[in-house]
Amino acid sequence: MKKILVLSLLAVFGVYLAEVLFKIDFGHQFFLNGVKDFYLTASPDKLKVANVVTSIVVNFRGFDTLGEVTVLFLATTAMSSILYKGRHKLGERAVLFSSSRIVMTGSKLLFPAIILLGVYVFVHGHLTPGGGFQGGVIIATGFLLMLLSYQDYQVSHVVLSVVESLAGITFASIGLIGLLNGGTFLHNFLHTGVLNNLLSGGVIPIIYIAVGFKVGAELTGLIYTALNEKD
């Protein structure tokens, strides 16, 4: 009964949605004077950032990203708040399984490479596909690997929270410095350099690096909290 109801509801919803979507001329632009044209020109021209998505994420719509970072930060806080049960004791985490020596050694070998890859991805966020979020996630997978392989692997909560706080503060402070320096929040107050150079794009790489650190630390924290959770 419930299934039939839900199915019919979904059918109506889907039909209406699809009907409208089919009116979109797929694969063609049909709106005039959209903002994307501006972004596509201004990004290489004004900001000297090769990756337009990055310039949108960090600068044109940098405010969204600040919010996004906050969402992550909140998710971590929320998770630890929701699961919080008295004080954590380090190393007191549930033993899910014991990994074999091969896995342990392999992860140990892979771990630096993963971290390095992550760092590369967020440092080159304004040049190549990728960026702070992607890099941060890669870094977190490194820690996830370690946490899964080693039952007694420790990540210092203090370090994590210091890193994530500092990264967040960096982002917000750069925005505020922009406000003081150029009159608008997140103003790109550094020299923009030359397109496709590593040191180009003014504050964009700095912000993205901060985001990378923050995402990495936060995702690690999330995983750690979830694993470390007492029953």
């Binding site: 839900v6 509801l9 209406y16």
Partner: protein
Amino acid sequence: MIYILFSILLGGAILTFLANKISGLLRDTFFLLTMLGATLIFYTQLHIGGLVNFSIGSFNLEWGVNSFSWYFSLIVLGLGTLAAFYALSYMKGKENLGFFYFSFLISILSMLGIVMSHDLISFFIFWEMMTWSSYFMVIYSGKNVQKNGINYILFSAFGAYAMLTAIALVYANIHSLSIVEMISNYGQFSPALQTWIPILFLMAFSVKAAMMPLHVWAPGAYSDSPMAYTSVFSGALSKMGIYGMILIFVTMISHLPDDTWFREVFAWLGAITAIMGTLWAIAQDDARKLLAYSSVAQLGYIITGVAIGTDLAMLSALFLAALHALFKGTLFMAVGAVERQTGTVKFSEVTGLIRKMPWTFIASLLAIIALAGIPPLGGFVGKWMLYESLINSNHYILVIAIFFASTSAFLYCYKFLFGFFLGQEEKEWAHVKEAPALMVVPMLLMAGFLVILGTFPGILLKPADTAMQTLGFAPTEGHLWSMSVLFNAWGDQVLLRPLVYAIAGIFLFFLIILTVKGWKNTRYVTTKDISSSGEVPLEHENLTFSVNFYQPFLRAVGPVMKHRMITWYREFGAGMETIFDFTRRIYTGNGQTYAIYVMVFLVIILLLQNTIFG
């Protein structure tokens, strides 16, 4: 001056409330000073016709006194002051006195505010202040709070909201809140509004005036508030409803093309209120309830008078309004005195107080005679004018109805006197003493005034006449009344003075005859010393007849009383609550169901989009 008056009352209320924390004497002093100060200022400093205005919330508020409002302030302040003295003694030793005095003063303030408001918004604000301050009194005792308190506040709010709607309609149409402008622009409203605005206003006023079918709150509320306040509650506060009704009937209804319907309906509602109130009063065992129903009934007469709206009817309504304040104030005070001295207000529990509380008895007796409308007290004057006005304006059946109500009223009148004061004296109540002077004197003052009014109704008719002239009636002095003569439209007249003197003379003559004959030999024996079918009742046997007092009569009117309004309301309320209870089961507690609701909502809008956003 109005500012000062209001600030005195408001400040006095707050000071009294605060002083309660410090000392009882200080509180009493503040309370009394406030009340006296307000009365003094009102009578000495306030001149009729003065207006003050100021603006708040982009509304222009206007306060002022005219003769009409002066008449009602007379009732409020007169009764209020006497009740204040009474309260000092009556409330001694009770809890939360600061709260009581605060509410008392605030309700006096709000009543004065109502009659002095010249704009609708302050009228409404004062109206609501009156409601909640009196609500505090209703729940003061803490008994039946959930039932009577909620009833009262619910009905009051119903009325208030009706009024608010009317005010909003007026404001939306003329962009002014002045009562004067509302009246002067009334003719330009659309016909629908012309009908609905008075109806909405009258709904509000008939709640406070306890008119059928909106009277349900009254018995409970009147009987639950402390008697010191009930005298004001029933005597003055309910008159605010009458005040509003008169205003509406005179200024609006009379301009309606088909006002006869209105008048007939309201007159009949008033009459039915009177009848049903009387019948239910007869059935009560609790003196407070009896008086409460009696108040409902008395207000029914007044409403009828207002609704008929001829010169004489209006005059009688105004006169009865003041008179009702006097005698019902006295009676509630008497009940309060009995309650304070004996601790009960049930007729079936207390008897034979006449020798213990003679002054209370005398006050009650006079008030009852006035209530019953028996000459030579003031009540007769009001009743006479009411009947004559009804007969002269061709409301014959109405006369019968009213007369039936007031004849039946003798039953509960007698029950009141008999229940408390007469009957056998019992050892149980041997310790009872007369109430303190502070309580007795206000009652006696009012009772005395009732006696004077019986001979010289002109004292009260004079201001009533002035008040009516403010409302646009022709002066009536000389052709409807003079100091102690009453006239009707057919030229018939009652010369009160010779009648009263004759009654007094005959009474005294026979009293003297009775007294003189066997003066030496006749001695008082206790009420146990009776011949009851040849047997003398023993000391512990109480033969006083007080349970099922009027059972035969009630049996006779049984069919009418089978249905109680309050039962209907209660069933309605219970039905509503069942529906509500059913409704809240929409919130099943299952998160998925809520999510499905969201989808249902979406799909409904999707399907109806052409209708909704077409």
